[in-house]
Symmetry: C2
Subunit: 606 residues, 2 copies
């Protein structure tokens, strides 16, 4: 039943009609080559590759998983050939500088490509996906020699890359990192320690794997201020990228996971592996966090991807599976029963998935324009511009990552639910989507970590609510002209205006509560994040509805009219059937921290 079709019509709507990407690219330093024709050609080619090469490997790859034997990892059948096509197509270099073999296109285009690849086959997309952080780190912090040494092969996709942070005793709390880096006297270091949960840490798709590793120099300060960053390749690399001897980093095992089993999650043992310091000593954590915002948007995409794939699978089944009759009378009298798509509760589930997939897509494409500006500034060496745009983006990323991955998981579970008992068996692929989607709220910082970052850092500490005031000002601009209008437009405008006020008031109240009780931040954070997500998605649905209404007014052929009508109807669904959840989160976010903390730990066991 799973038969991924890239939603190009919707992607173009969001790019061109909602966010005016053509104008955005024209204004962007790095965007001059991203003409509408080029963009279109890239989207079409990526769609074909995803639909024809990656999607057919989704269920089989998940079923087979990766194989581990004596330190070597074999990816599932078909992955090597599909990856070779990926390299051949030059897909890895899409948004990297031409100086290192990339195509120099804006990073947003890479995110769109990632969305399609991830929807077609999330586990596969993680292999090239993990390299991106490695490449960005070397671009930003490496010397020109390092760049020449590593980037051409990484940008071509011939080598893979990883980020090695987590250790058995610590994930979110990197202050506890123990891996040691011992200077060898020749400028290089011997790296010793164990890293776990390293996605793409070992596999058979590339000739070399370049690890970016967090480790401590001798006598480095304890905690986060004593962590440095090292490049540790699987095979040592000579001048011009020639492969040398095997380095002392070995895969001890791969994890047996609930899902994404085609993605190898490695335990890596560094036994005095040769590494090179990159960036300043003891400032590794800052460097590591430089591109965290884009990495997190990359994970937010997983929410959209799995909502989209689960929606496509569930819709097809709902149109085919027949059960009972509509309560208002037979819809398909010639059939033994009506297709379940006629039952309102099945519609509720399908529209929830659709609203999440399309609403999430709009949220990501909006934020991707900020990412474009941030990278353009970074590669142009404009530190101030980079910081400004990174700050703007920083407000969006925890909301996108936290909220969209939670919603993606819900949408994936609804996909199973539409299938009834058939959703629970492997055959249809729906349960695989739910298992694959489950990781998204855990890695790249759990929802709880995103929420602390949002409320504690971004909103309270760094901007004292300014980021919320800025965003809600945008909401007001969108809402104001419609406040007195009738029908859907007026209802949405008034709902949006009310939420804009409510969001600011909520933020202010939490600011005051947090002053009185520092534990309030953690007590409110996840409900606050979910509240922000629902309201931010409401803004994006109102924006899409506005554009759809304009398009309908300007006259459309019947096929386009149906598309725009569906946009308006999905927007209405969102405001009536999903946005009300924000009220519950609003109220729960304001509950006192004491309720959570008053119970003695010993009494919790009952």
């Amino acid at each position: 039943m799973l038969n991924y079709k890239a939603p190009l019509r919707d992607m173009r709507f969001v790019m061109n009609e909602v966010f005016d990407y053509p104008a955005h690219y024209r204004a962007l330093g790095s965007g001059e080559d991203a003409s509408p024709e080029v963009v279109d050609a890239i989207l079409e080619a990526a769609a074909t590759y995803c639909e024809e090469v990656l999607a057919p490997l989704y269920v089989s790859g998940g079923e087979e998983g990766c194989h581990f034997q004596a330190g070597e990892v074999t990816t599932p059948k078909g992955f090597k050939a599909a990856y070779a096509q990926f390299v051949e197509g030059g897909w890895q270099g899409l948004s990297f500088p031409t100086a290192y073999g990339g195509q120099g296109l804006p990073v947003s285009l890479n995110l769109l490509k990632s969305e399609m690849m991830g929807t077609a086959n999330w586990a596969f997309s993680m292999y090239p996906g993990l390299s991106i952080g490695c490449i960005n780190t070397i671009l930003q912090y490496g010397t020109e020699a390092m760049r020449q040494q590593y980037l051409p092969k990484l940008v071509a996709g011939e080598w893979g890359g990883t980020m090695c942070l987590t250790e058995p005793q610590c994930g979110s709390d990197l202050a506890q990192v123990k891996t040691q880096a011992k200077p060898l006297g020749d400028g290089s270091y011997a790296i010793t320690g164990t890293k776990i949960f390293i996605s793409s840490g070992e596999h058979d798709l590339t000739d070399n794997i370049v690890h970016i590793v967090l480790a401590r120099l001798p006598e480095a300060p304890a905690g986060t201020r004593g962590i440095s960053l090292f490049i540790v390749p699987k095979f040592l690399v000579g001048e011009g990228g020639a492969l040398g001897t095997r380095n002392a980093v070995h895969c001890g095992s791969i994890e047996h996971k609930m899902g994404i089993s085609a993605s190898a999650t490695a335990v890596l043992n560094f036994d005095g592996a040769i590494g090179t310091l990159i960036g300043e000593p003891n400032k590794g954590l800052e460097a590591m966090f430089t591109f965290m915002n884009t990495a997190r948007i990359g994970t937010a995409i997983q929410g959209v991807a799995h909502a989209e794939l689960a929606y496509q699978g569930a819709l097809a089944y709902a149109c085919e599976r027949r059960s009972m009759r509509a309560l208002s009378g037979k819809k398909e009298p010639e059939q033994v029963a009506d297709a379940i798509v006629w039952h309102p509760d099945v519609r509720r589930m399908l529209l929830t998935q659709k609203a999440i997939a399309e609403g999430g897509r709009a949220m990501i494409y909006g934020a991707a324009q900020l990412a474009d500006k941030m990278f353009a500034a970074a590669w142009a060496g404009d530190q101030a511009g980079y910081k400004r745009h990174d700050g703007e983006l920083g407000f969006f990323t925890p909301i996108l990552k936290g909220f969209l991955t939670e919603m993606g998981l819900e949408a994936a579970n609804l996909g199973m639910q539409v299938y009834g008992g058939h959703g629970y068996i492997r055959e249809h692929g729906m349960e695989q989507i739910a298992r694959d989607a489950r990781i998204a709220t855990l890695y790249e910082g759990t929802t709880g970590i995103q929420a602390l970052d949002l409320l504690g850092r971004k909103v309270l500490l760094q901007t004292r609510g300014q980021c919320v005031r800025d965003f809600t000002a945008q909401m007001w601009v969108l809402a104001r002209p419609g406040l007195l209008a009738g029908g859907l437009r007026g209802r949405m405008a008034r709902a949006l205006a009310r939420r804009a006020v409510q969001w600011n008031t909520l933020t202010l109240r939490l600011m005051l509560k947090a002053k009185a009780d520092p534990e309030q931040v953690g007590a409110s954070s996840v409900d606050y994040l979910m509240y922000c997500g629902y309201v931010m998605m409401a803004y994006h649905w109102a924006l899409m509805a506005q554009r759809a209404e304009q398009a309908l007014h300007s006259g459309q052929g019947p096929e386009s009219a149906a598309f725009y009508q569906a946009k308006l109807q999905t927007a209405q669904f969102y405001f009536e059937r999903l946005l009300p959840r924000a009220d519950a989160h609003h109220r729960m976010a304001l509950a006192p921290a004491s309720t959570l903390l008053q119970m003695p730990v010993a009494a919790m066991a009952g």
Copy 2:
């Protein structure tokens, strides 16, 4: 990390202090033997069996799964021995009539036993669990000869039983059942057809398996009024229960499922298998639904079971795993970091699980008293009493089954979330709980089916809201004395009173809307069910809080005081942090059906 301990303290609190089971059993015809001492001894013995025999097989059984070869199913290692102990302990007969070898104790005791078995090892518990429907059907509809033939072995647990409803083309819509029953002239029938998703349909735990099969007689009316019920044993049974020849029912395969892989889900092919008609011709569906209410409570228990197990696993980890520091200052300064149980968001997750597990337990033990009365009437041949109690119970079952399984799934997912990335790998068992919990909202009628049963049948059609008026009257009785009180007691009382009014008003509004648009029932049903669940659980938490407060006032030792304090604190948590979700469901239930149905099916694909 999973190390199940039966929550006997809480079970006794709910039984004895909240619902006064001793008095209930004294009043019950079948309850005279269920003295407090007997009940206690049974609970202790069941707890020991579950903790020591079943729990250790949970992760290994899930990992290994069932094996299928040439029509035979082998259960995972250890299951046979564990099942032998189950039979030896006489556990299957606990609540069945002594005339057939049972112990004649109230059915509620069996539900408590099932809760412990299901928490320790849900997949295992399904083997004896599925027999119960088969036994009840034969007890109620079989002739005395059939009872003598089948019941002693089934009640002893030496044979297993199943219910064979689902076919490839139909699950919920049994009108589409195609399996044929051809009279053989000697009073028996040849059954031909394919049944799927048959839990315990084939396995190696018992000498025989007795299938209760839905099939059609020749020239039976189309639809649900042409379905009859047949007993089709795997091995034919002679007088006195002697095993005869192998019947023509064979297992074609077992399903590869997302979870509960230790439970065999069989495809059964009936190729002219010999069957006996049980009950009246063409009235099989009614007979099948007779004990649907108890079967659904049995599935509702899965929500409590997985919430409890996930809570126990997550709490243990949260006390051990160290990450970062509490925002109000170090809690464990001598350690490298604080245990994550100190972080308010981790508390929020743990308390959510605890509130679901304990609140759900109370809901089930309350309903179980109605089940006791229903069965006592049924076995005493009191049709009027049976119908009255079954009607009362019928209001609770869709709420318990629908709401508690959804909440159990949430609690299981929170268990993984507390573990962070470690929750996603198989090792700790947490992801297995989430996979196992996922089936509960699908089988025995999906959440959507429960919701239609609740709003469409129970509330609107059968009682015109009387069941809601009856339950909310109970809420008023509990709330009234506290309405003017200060503190938690007053807040809970006022919240409860407000919800009692709101629930009735919501029901009335939906009744009116449904008259104007029959599709409104399906459009509102799931949100209505969830609303009912949150409010009903609020009543149970208020009830538990009241009892805990009384106990504290009457003076308690420090250990008991901590238990009762924790009850009050969890009740407070429930009212502040979970009950507000009812508002969102309230509003979403009132949204018009047109929003769901206005989009043309062709436009849904985008």
